[in-house]
Amino acid sequence: MTAATRYLALACALAVAALLGGCAAPATSVGMTAVPTKPVHPIGGDVSVAVSGGSQTSSTGGSQISDEAFAQALRDSIQQSGLFAKVSPSGARYQLTAFIGEVDQPVVGFSMTVKMDVNYKLVDAQSGATVWSKVIDSQYTARPGDAFAGVKRLRLANEGAARDNIQQAIGAMAALKL
């Protein structure tokens, strides 16, 4: 075997390892959960959460934000913030729906910025009235220092954008006089 063939074999092995080692992982609910930075004015009553517009991550595509993971992060963030008395699976006084509108992700890049917007709507189940609705934009940049592998950087950027979005939503709901 010549030196050129050896290098080619090594390059092929590295390419395969890089590709197989770089399978996309979905954004996690833990990574998207917003940590409360200050006490919020509690609304009281319980809330149920429903999310749509998310995407599933495929092994050959990029990291995505699923409905389930975003909903779990939203529930956990609300619970940690104390905004509502309780997060119920269904039949709650307030119903919070979130539609993940735009998730703008880079296909490749060193610094990866994900931009997203989410339409939130809070409905009082007793009166049927929409007490709050808002489109919230957020973005987050993950840099090579955060993660060497591009697939991980994209996941971190997804999680950062979602976390900031949820943080803003909780802040906006905390300002409501209900």
């Binding site: 590709l19 995407s55 609705s133």
Partner: protein, 139 residues
């Protein structure tokens, strides 16, 4: 050794030539059939005129549509359309992914969105990507 080399070369090709995918989602209470007038906002980074292709396709589909650089049109419209086009190089440049969002003309909230991803070997011209993406959104 040659067999290992062949497998080593074929495997990345197999992974890089993944299947084409398309998908669309609507907001829970969205009714796209009520939308008659559209305005497509040009993405600042877009120098290929994708906004004009989207607007032209909407007209072909029987809607009224205009496009421009301003984030909002001069006259009110039922829906504002935004998009993100992603390009890659493989012998020539091709559009690997197109995302389109249909937004409420007043609030800017996303009513529906669609995404088409096509790898190099299944590439389409920009017109084809626009047609496919709008097709899955309004299906």
């Amino acid at each position: 050794m040659k067999r290992v080399l062949r497998i080593g070369l074929l495997l990345p090709m197999l992974i890089l030539t993944a299947c084409a995918t398309n998908s669309a989602t609507k907001a829970p209470d969205a009714d796209l059939s009520k939308l008659k007038t559209f305005y497509v906002v040009r993405l600042p980074e877009d120098t290929r005129g994708i906004e004009k292709l989207i607007s032209a396709r909407l007209v072909t589909m029987g809607h009224q549509s205009t496009s421009g650089d301003a984030p909002k049109p001069d006259a009110p419209v039922d829906a504002i359309v935004t998009y993100q086009d992603h390009w890659m190089w493989d012998i020539t440049m091709y559009m690997i992914k197109l995302d389109i969002q249909i937004r409420d003309g007043t609030s800017g909230a996303v009513l529906a969105k669609g995404e088409v991803r096509r790898p190099s070997l299944q590439r389409k011209a920009a017109e084809g990507m626009v047609e496919e993406t709008l097709g899955v959104i309004f299906k």
